[in-house]
Amino acid sequence: MKRRHRLLLFAFGAVGIAFVYCAGALNMPAWGQYRGPYGDAIARLAVYQRHATDTVNAVTYDYRGFDTLGEEFILFSAVTGVMLLLRPEKQRAGEKKNQEGGNPASFRDRAALSETVQVFTTAIFGFSLMFGIYMATHGQLTPGGGFQGGVLLAAAPMLLYIAENTEAFQRIVSHPLVEFFEGAGAAGYALIGIAALTMGAAFLTNVIPLGMTGDVFSSGTIAAISACVGVEVAAGFTLIVYGYLREILSRAAREGQ
């Protein structure tokens, strides 16, 4: 195909896409206008039915809780897959150990970290932890929820790594309880659903007393599920970070000696 033909073909396609795009854009609802029946219905009902002031979390953890359970296990199996792919290569590790014995170089061989970064990252470590916990436990009241809180919690140890507090970082991410919490979080979600079954209701029915609207301990299973998701996500992300850095960390430890 000659260059001219290719350009012609491209021009044809570009004009077509521009036409379809403009036709679609002209038919969009006006700025800030909403055209579906469900959003308005849920926004009106959620506070009365579920005592949750954040409608989005009432939808994700209650009205369509079964979908979120599926998403939860997508994350769970993704973490499992990553950990399986990043498992330590035993034979190679032995080889490397011999070869690197007399070669203490490269990992620490770079510019020193500025004190500003060190102090600042250490200072916001606690803040990040607190904010993560707050977000995971207040999902039913304000925007946020388990997933966002969990990622924030998992990001906190990374700050230690950036501050080159490698020892503390390794102690946190390589802790055997991280794996336990990942499984416990995912299982907790499913168990809350099964608890409803034992009480004679459908799977994932909101069976816990709803409490006062606006309280932290309100909205029944929404708060409980959000907390479970927070634990699972935090542990899952921490596991992935550990999987990626495991070899590098052990090498740094060897070279540090």
Partner: protein
Amino acid sequence: MTVILGVALLALIAASALGVVRTDDVTCQTISLSFYGLLLALMFFLFRAPDVALAQITVGAIALPLMVMLAITRMKHHKEATGRARKEQQ
């Protein structure tokens, strides 16, 4: 007013997306990707979706760049280790 702000923000997002694609160095690209994620979060906030904005901040500005950085670090580390092993074999 909101419409102008929205259009300006969308234009900024398009420009920064182009910036991410046009950046050559992988590490710089990851940082610009993180910035692009933050802009997207700002857009969600402007479009009155604070929940999605928070999810976008945690995923687009923290988790995704972090994963890319970790993968790059690991690849560099792997390359160094295998390169050194080869040198010593020779």
